[in-house]
Amino acid sequence: MKLLTVAIFVVILAVTLLITYWAARKTHTTSEFYAAGGNLSARANGFALAGDWMSAAAFLGFSGLVSLYGMDGSLYAVAALAAFLVVLMVIAEPVRNTGRFTFGDVIAERMQRPSARLAAIVGTIVVNIAYMVPQMAGAGALVKLLLGVPYDIAVVLVGVGMIVYVLFGGMIATTWVQIVKAVLLLVAATVLVFMLLATVHFKPLSLFASVEKMYGAKMLSPGGYFNHPLDTLSLFISFIFGVAGLPHIMTRFYTVPDAKTARKSVLWLMFLAGSFFMVTTLIGLGSATFVGQSAIRSIDPGGNLALPLLALYLGGGAGTIGGQVFLASICAIAFAAILAVVAGLTLASSGAIAHDLYVNVIHGGKVSEVKQVRVARTATMLVGVVAVTLGLLAQGINVGVLVILAISVAASANFPIIFLSIFWRRFNTAGVIGGMTAGLVSSVALAFVGPAFMKDHALFPIVNPAIVSMPIGFLGAWIFTMLTPHTSNNNDNFDAFFVRAQTGVNIKEIAQRDRSRNA
């Protein structure tokens, strides 16, 4: 069993390393490093986006939640799809049109001030670290469970993997690792669901009936996981607006040539990831029926291993070859999923440090191309080492709060500043800093006094603080904007930015070219 699992792990690792080797030879410029040269097709970027979004948390977490809590798990999964409505219609095209490599680019293009970029850097790093640590911890737990490898070694292994992908292959390697992983994940899910449906004679409704019979009607109504009536709404708010503020998702829009491709790639994502999220309900109900809640809980109280256990069952059960093969492949894919997601996060973070902080804030953009790539690689190492260290420290600590933190900070700090930058003429640098601070502080504070961290003694009753902290973020942005005067400079910046965001045409550049041509 172990040998087989190791073999599948090694094969997947080898494939990703081959991709990295191939990508490394194509990665020379900053544009190739951060944005894969900006020439991906909508389909490739859509698969990579889906790969980014179908993290292990979604893969294992959603089906686990459904298996233990029923409908609330399904609500979780559908929120993750609805999240892309705002990305598709409001964020993707302006981000594609105005930025080059990072979230900070968009804010800096609008404000033309280094301090505004600094706020975006803070938002990027906080969100990405909060996103990355639980993934590392999850990988550690998963590998430990499967291979008996100690947690520490597993985390270091993930760290080395992601550093190698990003360091040598940049965005090209990261993208193709995501694509491979997305395909593997979708194939695995299809096979699993097909076998599950075959088991129930293609009557999916019988799963609902059996779950109701075994665990009562409460499984098929909301309120199993969420205690507060506003919890579901707050979850929806934090997903729908938070994903629009996730820096590593924005980075994906720089890999396509134009706004049209960006929007088509979101459509790909919505169908690929959406259908996957939809079947997590069936998988969850299936594992509750066939594996049983007590068996799921006994291995992992959070239910995260419901899907692998169902795979084991459908393959023929423990001890059979089919079961082992199936279980091993599912776990190896989950591991690959984690690797790919942390690689994307590492790349986005190193962009914030190298491109935003070092090149643009400290050196005012005057750094040679060769040096920029070198700095980007150094930043990748740095981010990787920090992430591994935090991942090691996270052992045994409840990292659930960090998952909530990542998405809440994105919704409460990043989303207000990017939304207002795109649409509000009056918005200015003070507002960017005010909004970032207000959103960041309120979401961190509320997440830590909330039920995710303080359990039963929570001072704040709602798990996801976004329902309160996002308005605070907008309020902070508004107050600080109004405290500073509206300048004509700001007006011009908005006009230029707005036209560029909506049409993709850079008026300033055209005017500049005309001037230099006539001079």
Binding site: L75, A82, P257
Partner: protein, 198 residues
């Protein structure tokens, strides 16, 4: 052989960095915007780049505003780019260079924004209201959500399934509308820049 240019060969400004179809197209658009060329067919030097775009996009993108017509790729001969010296630069004695303000106030840009508003507001409004509505129901109306629809299948699950449907339909509708209207109107904005600035 390619099309014969109708009339004189217009001044063609070579794009600064012709790295990909998008840059080429945007360079072409900005040329069109300057009123220097009217992109109607193939010119020496131009068709090579247009062919890039055509291959990338497969279909022939036609636009009544910029009037870009892309010739068949089979008609392309590889000829070096011929940057023609500007015969009459619009910035010399013609209209002034466009400013961001003039563009953002131009009728064509306003029309673009109104198209976008009219497409996005209802699509986003309906889909978000439905999703948040289901979220509120599942928080405050457990009884409604646990009403049985068919066998053990509850109304709650039907509504959740509805979110998938709404998200997918809205996303398709948006992409179709945006592909049809947004891009061509954005081209109109670009094409009208020089006219508006005068």
């Amino acid at each position: 052989m390619w099309f014969k240019p109708s009339g004189e060969i217009p001044a063609y400004r070579r794009p600064t960095k012709s790295t990909g179809p998008n840059q080429v197209l945007s360079a072409l658009r900005s040329n069109a915007a300057q009123g220097e060329i009217e992109i109607l067919g193939g010119w020496p030097g131009l068709c090579l780049e247009l062919a890039h775009v055509a291959r990338k996009r497969k279909r022939r993108p036609t636009n009544r505003c910029a009037q870009i017509k892309i010739m068949e790729t089979s008609m392309i001969e590889l000829l070096p780019l011929v940057p023609v010296d500007s015969m009459s630069s619009p910035t010399d004695n013609g209209p002034e260079a466009p400013t961001s303000q003039s563009v953002s106030r131009s009728p064509s840009f306003r029309k673009l924004m109104s198209i976008k508003r009219r497409a996005i507001a209802p699509l986003l409004g309906i889909s978000l209201m439905y999703s948040f509505g289901v979220a509120l129901l599942s928080g405050f109306a457990h009884d409604v959500m646990s009403t049985k629809v068919s066998g053990s299948f509850t109304l709650g699950y039907l509504l959740v399934l509805g979110i998938y449907g709404v998200c997918w339909l809205v996303a398709i509708a948006y992409v179709v509308v945006a592909n049809r209207l947004f891009d061509s109107q954005a081209l109109c904005v670009v094409a009208s820049i020089s006219g508006e600035a005068s």
